[in-house]
């Protein structure tokens, strides 16, 4: 199986604080990964480094088999195969439609196609009525739904999800979980998801990375981790179940 992402000795510091230090990490095509870990463990930072939004301070990153050299054209080329739902679901000024169409616009897709895709994605998220609504006025959950629609619209090969259902009502959250499974099996989309919802992790993940203080202290299949985690900290974390 081709490794989509390979990270070796990747570190990232803010000021003098090392917030990420990944010895070795591999992500394979077509699987669903979950990253777990306490607040401030570096989960978001890890997603940002993998999606090439934050430059690592040292180490080596390979994406789609290419070593990342951070040059402009490579970045755009690689990023065009990815999409992310960020933790804050930032919305551009303008309508919900504009936000969801954004990824298609920058890819210069024909207008009718854009309209069709945006319509589909909004329908999927139950947000069709909001197409003309100013996106920055949405409620927290609505905003998160639009952020998901926006990421899905570009049909990415790799989908990064940073706590994508944190503000969603339970039913919507379940729908989205189903949909993630669906695109994963249907289009072979690789999914890398951060979540604090252990049930969700358990339902979705094929593999889990457990992050602690910037380091991957445990990695394995979902079943393994939940039933026989080696690290004591992992076990303690997973016990806080709810």
């Amino acid at each position: 199986m081709a490794a989509l992402f390979r990270l070796y000795n990747v570190t990232k510091r803010y000021r003098s604080r090392e917030v990420l230090n990944i010895r070795k990490m591999e992500v394979n095509k077509g699987r669903i990964y979950t990253i777990l870990g306490p607040n401030g463990a570096g989960k978001t930072t890890l997603l940002r480094v993998m999606s090439l939004l934050t430059v690592n301070d040292s180490g080596r990153i390979e994406v789609f088999g290419e070593e990342v050299s951070w040059n402009k054209s490579q970045l755009v080329r690689l990023r065009r195969h990815m999409a992310m739902v960020t933790q804050t679901s930032f919305m551009f000024k303008g309508s919900v439609y504009y936000n969801v169409a954004y990824g298609l616009k920058v890819r210069k897709r024909p207008e009718p196609e854009q309209r069709k895709i945006v319509k589909e994605c909004l329908e999927l998220m139950g947000m069709s009525d909001f197409a003309d609504y100013p996106a920055q006025k949405l409620s927290g959950g609505e905003r998160q739904k639009v952020a998901i629609a926006r990421a899905l619209a570009v049909k990415p090969a790799v989908l990064f999800l940073d706590e994508p259902t944190s503000s969603l009502e339970p039913n919507s959250a379940m729908d989205i979980e189903h949909y993630i499974k669906f695109i994963n099996s249907q289009y072979n989309t690789t999914v890398i998801m951060v979540t604090h919802n252990l049930f969700q992790a358990r339902r979705l993940a094929e593999e889990i990375f457990f992050l602690w203080d910037g380091k991957i202290i445990e990695h394995g299949s979902c079943e393994d981790l939940f039933t026989r985690a080696r690290d004591e900290r992992t076990r303690a974390f997973l016990q806080g179940n709810f």
């Binding site: 940002r48 999606s51 939004l53 402009k72 970045l75 755009v76 990023r79 065009r80 990815m82 999409a83 992310m84 960020t86 804050t88 930032f90 551009f92 000024k93 954004y102 990824g103 920058v106 890819r107 100013p134 920055q136 006025k137 926006r150 990421a151 570009v154």
Partner: protein
């Protein structure tokens, strides 16, 4: 204080009389300042954004120079453009001195740093998330920059109105390179100077009132357009 009432009265009379010369002077003022503003915007908005966004070497010094040039004295700008356009100057061949074109050039020198500097500041004040979201959705740098510019629209409109105010008000540059030639390069501000020099205070105030009236109407239009374009860029509600 009679001179104020006199000035206002005279101003109203002047406006109502539709004085041919005054109309021509007013139109030239608008034409020169708006041409300069448009050129400054076309050059300054992209340049300002690039300076705000690109980690080029010497960027900080360059930005600082731009901020400094926001305080370029109009007379000095006028003098420098004058020397370039003068017969003996490197661009003397173009025969532009004492024409409206020369006035536009000199005013571009004044407006460019303002548009560029304030645009850079507006762009730099944007949250990181704007860029991140654009990049993550596949935007090239150019597309992302354009998106950031759109998000900064409020600040950029402020930059443009500030620059326009500066241009409509300044006299040093247009006086120097335009020469204040009656019927050819005389504009509202140079007329004001001429009238004060001749001791015609009330007429100077009258022309000043007209200038401010025009500026007021222009601002109204700009704000209306801005509102229409950025409907939901509302302001803070205080309860």
């Amino acid at each position: 204080m009679a001179v104020f009432y006199q000035g206002i009265k005279e101003g109203l009379l002047l406006i109502m009389s539709l004085d041919r010369e005054l109309i021509q002077i007013t139109l030239l003022s608008l034409q020169v300042s708006f041409s300069a503003l448009i050129i400054a915007a076309i050059l300054g908005i992209p340049l300002g954004s690039v300076l705000a966004l690109k980690r080029i070497p010497g960027r900080k010094i360059f930005l600082n120079i731009i901020y400094t040039l926001m305080g370029l004295p109009p007379v000095l700008a006028g003098l420098i453009v004058f020397l370039f356009l003068s017969n003996r100057g490197p661009l003397g061949q173009l025969q532009l001195l004492f024409t409206p074109a020369a006035m536009v050039i000199a005013q571009v020198c004044l407006a460019l740093p303002i548009v560029c500097g304030l645009t850079a500041r507006a762009v730099m004040a944007q949250p990181q998330e704007v860029y991140d979201t654009a990049a993550m959705l596949g935007a090239t740098r150019r597309q992302a920059a354009w998106t950031i510019i759109k998000e900064s629209s409020l600040g950029i409109v402020a930059a443009l109105t500030t620059a326009l105010g500066r241009l409509m008000a300044e006299v040093g540059a247009v006086m120097m390179v335009g020469g204040n030639i009656a019927g050819k390069t005389r504009v509202l501000t140079t007329s004001i100077v001429l009238e004060t020099r001749m001791g015609n205070d009330s007429r100077a105030i009258a022309i000043g009132m007209i200038l401010l009236l025009i500026a007021f109407l222009t601002m109204l239009i700009i704000l209306k357009l801005e509102k229409r374009t950025f409907k939901d860029g509302g302001t803070i509600q205080v309860i």
